[in-house]
């Protein structure tokens, strides 16, 4: 008697989020071909160039096998690239469409003219970002199989991990974008946050090769947790304890970022 009426607003809210989410799928209908093509080509090219091409050098270099834990360079970087490209792509999705929604095309305002709330608009968009990362990561997984990189069926669990890794970048990126007036700072984020993370968070070489003072910074990045977990799932040496630890870190990161995003979105849009 008490709970039944209380549930209805939640349902309505879920319904509004769903409607707003459909807006994004609708927009995407026009561009999906190009994005699938580049979603497949990018990882394929990277795996071919780095895994196979550069791999030729690495695999012939005697001391490397030890550093990589006895696996080929392709097997080493493929799952890392899965997480890293999820992060890269999510960063872009978390920034430019948000800026467009707030400022360039102002479709957030258009949505807010309906009964939807700011938080619901945010959740719908985040849900859409997660969908995009999931799509791209699934395509990436297919490419990984094409190269014969995964060594274990557990690699299937790497896709949701990649989504978490992506969202741990997309949510803070969206939160930050909502405080900005121009895309200048966004380009700064890509160059000074996304690129260094991509290059130094364990994707291309073990973090242990970094100078000791830099390692804690690498361990603190959500990307490192995503890369390490994806890698151990792909190589089939994941343990429950460490896997849960990495997932827990990513979830906590996303949760905090979501709270911040709710604040910055409200401050920007609810005026």
């Amino acid at each position: 008697m008490i709970t039944a009426p209380a549930r209805r607003p939640t349902q309505e809210s879920a319904h509004r989020i769903w409607r707003s989410y459909l807006y994004w799928t609708h927009i995407y209908r026009r561009t999906w071909r190009a994005s699938i093509a580049s979603g497949f080509l990018t990882p394929t090219l990277f795996m071919a160039a780095m895994g196979v091409g550069l791999g030729t050098l690495v695999n012939h270099h005697g001391s490397s096998a030890h550093q990589l834990g006895g696996v080929s360079y392709l097997d080493f970087i493929a799952p890392g690239l899965l997480a890293a490209s999820a992060m890269q792509m999510a960063a872009i999705e978390g920034m430019f469409p948000v800026m467009a929604g707030i400022k360039w095309i102002k479709f957030y305002q258009a949505m807010l003219a309906t009964p939807i709330t700011v938080t619901e608009v945010l959740y719908a968009h985040l849900l859409w970002m997660a969908t995009r990362v999931a799509m791209v990561s699934s395509i990436f997984l297919v490419a990984m199989f094409a190269f014969g990189a995964p060594r274990s069926a557990e690699v299937l669990a790497a896709v949701p991990v990649a989504v978490l890794t992506g969202m741990s970048m997309a949510v803070p990126a969206a939160a930050f974008t909502a405080t900005r007036e121009s895309d200048q700072a966004l380009i700064g984020v890509i160059r000074f946050v996304v690129m260094p993370m991509f290059l130094f968070s364990g994707t291309f070489f073990p973090v242990t090769q970094l100078p000791a003072w830099l390692r804690p910074l690498a361990y603190a990045t959500p990307l490192w947790h995503g890369v390490v977990l994806c890698r151990s799932l792909s190589l089939g040496d994941a343990s429950w304890a460490s896997s849960l630890g990495h997932v827990g870190y990513l979830l906590a990161f996303i949760a905090v970022a979501t709270l911040v995003a709710r604040r910055t979105f409200s401050r920007r849009l609810a005026a």
């Binding site: 190009a34 091409g53 270099h61 005697g62 001391s63 380009i187 690129m195 291309f204 073990p206 090769q209």
Partner: protein, 283 residues
Amino acid sequence: MSTPTVLDRAADGAAGAAAGLRITPTWSLGSRRAMRLVERNGRVYFRMWVIFVSGFFEPLFYLLSISVGISKLAGPVAGPGGHLISYTAFVAPALMAVSSMNGAVMDATFGVFFKLKFAKVYDAVLATPMDSGDVALGEISWAVLRGGIYSCVFLVVMAGMGLVHSPWAALAVPVSLLEGFGFAAVAMATATYMRSWQDFDFVTLALMPMFLFSGTFYPLSVYPSGLRELVLATPLYQGVAVIRGLDLGSPTWSMAGHCLYLLVMSVAGLMVASRRLERLILK
């Protein structure tokens, strides 16, 4: 009603003839008017210095990542002269060529497309004594300047990291300018054919394989013979080959061939870009 094509062609012919005549002063390279557009872009970027300055860091981060991590995994590589060099020394000059390409292409595609289709900057410019040749040359010069600044700073960093192995490396600067000109010219010509932002996926799809496969990250010997010829034909490979050769050794005659390739790109791109601007704006 059945003969509009004839009329079309007549009108096009007349327009074409008039258009041809308007380009006359274009080909005097170093046109002073073209520099006005360089000034304009400089002024815009002065207020967007974060974007300008940060553009330099991408190749720098790549270089650091390679020197800290990948170099140890990859081990020494055979350089242009055949002797073994560190992997970082092998990749660094190629990244300089990449940085020149990226610097040039970004402004000449995204920037030009934005100004052409959305901001209508050239509509305003062409109402002044400037003509389409000035605009093309001006935009390309700006892109070259930007790419050139990046590659010069990169060369200094390389020298600081002990990655410059020959005094001939100084010649890498003019070569990277020529490379930037070639890329900017072709990129600007391409931008005039773009219909929407989605088309830029194709730019990315052209640049990324070049970045990854033009002998940037490993010697050509890694490729099977069929692919090797393909890599030799890419525009980026020309820049990589010359800059790496100068940085690690001395000039060779084959470098003249690479430079000629870049020169042809420059001239052809400039001509097409200028004609296309004329067609698009001066209807």
